[in-house]
């Protein structure tokens, strides 16, 4: 995959909401059809698909091929680890068209959590919940898989609790007081809510967030409060990747995939138990190096960043781990320079997972495409190069 070998030519999405009518299947088809229409393509031309693996993606390629009347897929790949596949799905799609394995690859993500479980409800239907089917007092037996049997029996069962362990480690290593950390995380949450207030797609578009509300909200798992954790919702996103030649014939503003990365190291698979290595380091620095080297750009060339934010801690630490701010400095940088409009590097200009919607990084890719087309609600003037990155290192650099 060389630079400007593959481009995103279409994006599509459903509305985002707490409980949308329609199954994940229906939502996926709506988003895919919208993305193809945006690209000016007939969905029957789609010959490749990339997606997250189950259980992170409930809609299979087969369901879409049948449901949309697609003639044939010659390339289809799945990437594991949920949101850490956000760079991977771009990588696979771009590599496929670059290698001539397919010419029109759809990447999609559909979510209907209202029909599955949610962490916030403690109703047992979500991950970790076997349900009360065995009688109210029946013990829950955690099948050993990926070391979860060493964590769940203690009540470490949700990502928010794990992220709290990460945030505490950051404060410990860098000598932050609780107040320092609160000010940094709160600045991120409030900045992103302000972006969402200007974004018609955002679930939180009509809900303001000020410091009193942020600080006064319930503590979920110290030091993370309610507004430090992402939304839970339904919705679907999709985008279309094609070859350079095709892209130029379809539109005059293709968004080029300059680079995309995956990475995996011991005890760094989401959401494992992270009991080895320095907890602050969620991926080897070499992965970020690879991302920039292959794109042929430097940190100073990035005009806007969309950092996967299941928690406010993630954009904070991602500023450091992607090399924009030295380790241990991002908390102060965020407070002093911010990530809002006019800041040196605007972050999560759609409101992110905290305030737009939680589509496991896919809505961040859509926002980056809008920024580079010049059609974003909170447009960064003259944005030419965008980075979309997940906290454990999977990322992509896109350019107009």
């Amino acid at each position: 995959m060389t630079r400007r070998d593959a481009a995103i030519v279409g994006i599509g999405q459903t509305a985002y909401g707490k409980a949308l009518p329609g199954t994940a299947w229906e939502l996926a088809m709506e988003a895919v059809l919208a993305a193809c229409a945006d690209a000016g393509l007939d969905v029957a031309e789609v010959d490749g698909m990339c997606r997250f693996t189950a259980p992170f993606e409930p809609v299979t390629e087969a369901m879409l091929v049948r449901g949309l009347g697609i003639r044939e897929l010659s390339f289809f790949a799945q990437a594991p680890h949920g949101g850490e596949a956000l760079g991977a799905v771009v990588m696979h799609a771009a590599a496929a068209v670059s290698a001539g394995l397919a010419s029109t690859v759809v990447v999609y993500r559909a979510l209907s959590q209202s029909r599955g479980g949610r962490f916030g409800r403690a109703d047992g239907r979500g991950p970790g919940g076997a349900g009360p089917g065995g009688g109210a007092d029946a013990d829950v037996v955690v099948t050993e898989q990926d070391n979860l049997s060493f964590a769940w029996p203690y009540g470490l069962m949700s990502p928010g609790q794990l992220f709290a362990l990460w945030a505490r480690r950051y404060a410990t290593v860098h000598g932050l007081s609780d107040e320092d950390l609160t000010r940094a995380l709160g600045t991120i949450a409030i900045t992103q809510r302000a972006y969402a207030n200007g974004n018609p797609n955002a679930m939180m578009r009509d809900r303001k967030l000020d410091w009193e509300t942020y600080r006064g909200a319930r503590m979920i798992s110290e030091p993370l409060r309610l507004f430090d954790l992402c939304l839970e919702n339904d919705g679907a996103c999709a985008f279309v990747v094609t070859t350079a030649e095709r892209a130029r014939s379809l539109r005059d503003d293709p968004v080029w995939v300059l680079s995309a990365t995956q990475t995996l190291s011991p005890y760094r698979e989401p959401m494992g138990i992270y009991t080895s290595g320095e907890l602050l380091e969620l991926f080897p620095p070499a992965a970020a190096g690879r991302l920039f080297e292959r794109a042929g750009v430097g940190r100073a060339d990035i005009d806007v960043a969309e950092f996967y934010d299941a928690t406010s801690y993630m954009p904070l630490r991602s500023l450091e781990s992607y090399g924009f701010v030295p380790d241990g400095q991002a908390w102060r940088y965020v407070i002093e320079q911010g990530t809002g409009p006019g800041s040196p590097l605007p972050v999560n200009t759609h409101g992110g997972h905290l305030s737009e919607a939680y589509l496991h990084g896919m809505n961040g890719i859509l926002e980056a495409v809008r920024q580079l087309r010049g059609t974003a609600s909170n447009q960064v003037t003259g944005a030419e190069i965008a980075l979309v990155g997940a906290p454990a290192g999977s990322a992509t650099i896109l350019a107009r």
Binding site: G128, V141, E144, F150, Y154, G155, L165, R168, I220, Y274
Partner: protein, 141 residues
């Protein structure tokens, strides 16, 4: 009602030892490294001749969080509780909960020691409590 660890052939010896009040980690008989959780081969030298070494139970809190909002009904009544990653004196880290101390008094770096609690019939988990520093008080005279 408890959340109990299911076991495999690989993990059963750890939980068997916990039931007996012993904390153990896997050790390679070839290169003598220790690690946790258990693996089928030594992650350092790939040997398959592995054993279990009983460790002291001493460790320090590497990171922690006080859980204030339940995400599973089995833990709703235990709120607030303290989750932690404890670094054992012998090197490996493990996920656990810190008990016997007010949540507000827990800090990273505190010394802790393993204690075992039966959570269901025949199932015990290692928890960690604050331990005093090992050095004895100076003679006042």
């Amino acid at each position: 009602m408890a959340v109990v660890p299911g076991t495999t052939d690989l993990t059963a010896p750890y939980w068997d030892a916990a039931r007996e009040g012993r904390l153990v980690v896997q050790q390679c008989r070839a290169c003598h490294q220790v690690w946790h959780p258990p693996l089928p081969r030594c992650p350092h030298c790939h040997a398959t001749d592995l054993g279990w070494r009983q460790v002291s139970g001493d460790g320090t809190i590497y990171s922690y969080t006080v859980v204030r909002h339940p995400t599973h009904y089995a833990f709703a009544e235990k709120i607030p509780y303290v989750l932690a990653i404890v670094e054992l004196a012998e090197g490996p880290r493990l996920v656990t909960a810190v008990t016997g101390v007010a949540p507000e008094e827990v800090r990273a770096g505190q010394p802790v020691r393993a204690v075992f609690r039966e959570i269901a019939e025949g199932v015990a988990l290692p928890y960690f409590e604050r331990s005093r520093t090992s050095s004895p008080p100076e003679d006042q005279n």
